[in-house]
Amino acid sequence: MIYSYFPGCSLEKNAASYNISSIATSTALGMEFVEVEDWNCCGATEYISLNLTASFALIARNLAQATKNDSIKQLVAPCSACYLNLRKCDKYMNESPKFATKINLALAEDGLSYQAGTLKIRHLLDVVVNDVGLEAVKAKVVKPLHGLRIAPYYGCMIVRPDFGKDKKDGPTFDNTEYPNTLDELLKVLGAEVVDFPYKAHCCGGHMTQISESTGFELIRRLIKGADDYHADMIVTLCPMCQLNLDGFQGPMNNYFKTGYKMPVLYFTQMMGLAFGIEPTKLGFGSELVSARQALSKIGVEVPEPEIPEQKPRPKKDDKSLPMPQIPKKSG
């Protein structure tokens, strides 16, 4: 199985652990990913609030880039926001030829074009569960996640909006309000899955930056929910959700004077552990809320993350004496 792969900006740095674990597990499952050449940002939820045509032209450039390899008809995105934007662009261009013409007129400035409907846009979870299949996943499990209680968290943009109502595009691959795909996958990996009532509620998106009280409350609900169900960890499939729940868990705790310590990991990381892949090859250790205690339940030791060495940048026209250093003895 060969797919075009659209990592998205988050997976470059902030969610690098999602990227490497996605590639490690999909390779183990026999999938081949070909990264879209010179892809650009999908605009997240920001560009569309400013300029409609430009926001869709930005997305469509990626679709056009992906069709350059015309033997691959499916495009996989692990990030929910990228997945939704790519899907939405294809859908709207398909629905309105007038809109499609306009977008293609913009793309033509760089010699590109995209014919709506050429690509089928899929989320990584959909591909793992529905193309590879739970049976094939089960066959790969060598270290089942027995004894680990997991709250599966989908967030919003993987199952909503449901474009399937008009039957043109087909329904989303799972229920729009109470999805179950990730639950089933985690069960196959041997974990004990919590029936998490907030599984498709919002993580707050960019709200931490524009309205602290709103953003933190949305995060608190989810973390408290998982804690109330005695989950050992939350497992998610979206880099924005992971950043909010993990990265902003500390600031949220400060804001509400709470002391939650709920680890938040990616489903591909847990899948990789169950497949017996080395934790270092799955990006463990880059989470801000330590997963050490939770993972010790299944006998996994979290490695310290390898921090890339930051070379001090030399100042321009720096006339001052350099920091003295003890010369290394040669020979």
Binding site: A54, K102, L105, G205, Q209, S211
Partner: protein
């Protein structure tokens, strides 16, 4: 939120254009699409919220700039580099709107940097000139419509 979403839609029907565009309600929309999924009339509520934001920014109706500025700062990096840049985005946004807030989330920032999750420099795509040409044309088409 100064009006509930239901009231915003009633106000749109009633033709209260200026009041709708001045409202902070659309800026509270987190794009979770729950309303769109549930609407029995299949109204794309989230997209309409985006449209209200767009018109409000364009016609300078919405004066609390914190929310719209975030989008603008985000997009500024994308338009010039082709990729988003978290450190630059959060840095500029916080300096402009909440310089003392930096101390509150300093711990998180240090964590993100030491765990190697935040880059110090933005990544630029190879064909940035091509992308800029596409976006310039798109903006021109948008202005015509």
């Amino acid at each position: 939120m100064d009006h509930t979403p239901r009231r915003i839609f009633a106000m749109i029907s009633a033709g209260m254009r200026d009041e709708v565009l001045k409202s902070n309600t659309p800026w509270y929309c987190v794009s979770c699409y729950f309303c769109t999924a549930r609407c029995p009339q299949d109204i794309h509520i989230t997209d309409i919220m985006y449209t209200i934001k767009r018109i409000a920014v364009e016609e300078k109706f919405y004066d609390n700039s914190k929310a719209s500025d975030f989008s603008k700062t985000f997009i500024n990096w994308v338009e010039n580099y082709g990729r988003s840049f978290e450190l630059g985005l959060m840095g500029i946004h916080m300096l402009r709107h909440n310089p003392f807030g930096v101390f509150k989330i300093a711990g998180m920032g240090v964590g993100m940097v030491t765990k190697g999750r935040m880059g110090f420099t933005p990544t630029k795509i190879k064909d940035i000139d091509g992308l800029k040409a596409i976006l310039a044309k798109a903006k021109q088409l948008e202005a015509q419509s």
